[in-house]
Symmetry: C2
Subunit: 200 residues, 2 copies
Amino acid sequence: MQPSERPAGRQRDPRTQAAAVEAVLDLISEGATLSGLSLVTIAERAGVSRNSLYRRWKTKDDLYLDVLAAINQSPPTFDSPTAREDLAAHLAILIERTLNTRASSMLRALLAEARAFPELHRRYFAEIVTPRREVMYRIIRRGIATGEIRPDVDVAFVNEMLVAPILARMSSGATEGLDPDKASRRIVELLYDGIQAAGA
Amino acid sequence: MQPSERPAGRQRDPRTQAAAVEAVLDLISEGATLSGLSLVTIAERAGVSRNSLYRRWKTKDDLYLDVLAAINQSPPTFDSPTAREDLAAHLAILIERTLNTRASSMLRALLAEARAFPELHRRYFAEIVTPRREVMYRIIRRGIATGEIRPDVDVAFVNEMLVAPILARMSSGATEGLDPDKASRRIVELLYDGIQAAGA
DNA sequence: CAATATCAGAACAGGTCTGTTGCGTTCCGC
DNA sequence: GCGGAACGCAACAGACCTGTTCTGATATTG
């Protein structure tokens, strides 16, 4: 008996997993909460028997972990000539993610219920926030090294200032009319140049 | 019979209203959601009979409206010599509000369930966001008029950049170790000066 | 074909929440 | 002191969710 051997019996329908994840994303983006969402509702929306869900996931948390994994994609790396362009490019990607209403709703729901879903919250930071943050840090440090960015700035703080306007929009749900390219360049520009008048 | 006349019968206990509002703030900050919170739980926490709650509020929404009103205070106005100081002072107040864990949790819960509580969401914007935003706009415009701030900046966007780092912290719940004075000055400073190196 | 694991659908007990009703008690104005 | 209203406490039916169990049908391996 090899471990790679297929077990006897009917195979699990591969569409069930995806259907359940889709159903959760739909329902959350329609205003449901993580704790308020019931397996009955998810099963109905997914067009799947409640039994199949219980067979796959012991608890709702387990299902949500798979939902979180589904909306996560590793950040691409660019190699623009300037840190300025690299920062804008990464912010544009973040904005695009924010425009994905379903993913945004899921993250918003997760942040609101962080205390009730500690493991989910932990994974969100470890697998989504931290990797992207590291990429941003690296770009900013490179900009400092090349003399493009002032050497006396706090890298983490600069990142926070760049990312915050997007996260704030995501949190409030006010993402309509946000153009990734335009908005990201606008943010980088203002933070590069500052708002102080030349004479002042 | 005058309209100002007290109705016959026992008066409502004035502590009940406050106790219910406090209970909601406690429970929400402990991880409950607006839709998930039950009147049974609220009544127990408030030390009040469930009956008294029903007598005062027809629905949970009505109760939440009173909770929202309780955490709202009108923004003070300053008259510092420079817009820079005024902006920092107002950001410091915003940060102080953010450090109020219970109010922050309530707003976070509200944003996450905006679709389920449209009236609550509408009032949040009308009574809390908009007034403060107007104050910020006025300060920025004044700074432009006095030649302190570049005249070509977008007032709304500058405000967004100033406020966003605080809102983002509030949304993520990462508010520990945030000093209102220091953090607010830091934000204003970085946005005033920009991050671009002098030679670049 | 036999064994096995999945599937959808239905049922069940046990729990919670809602909204309402009833009871006796306490407070307040007249 | 009397009526009226709010109080706490308890009960109720109706609805929902959970976790488990059963059915009969279907798919897959050996």
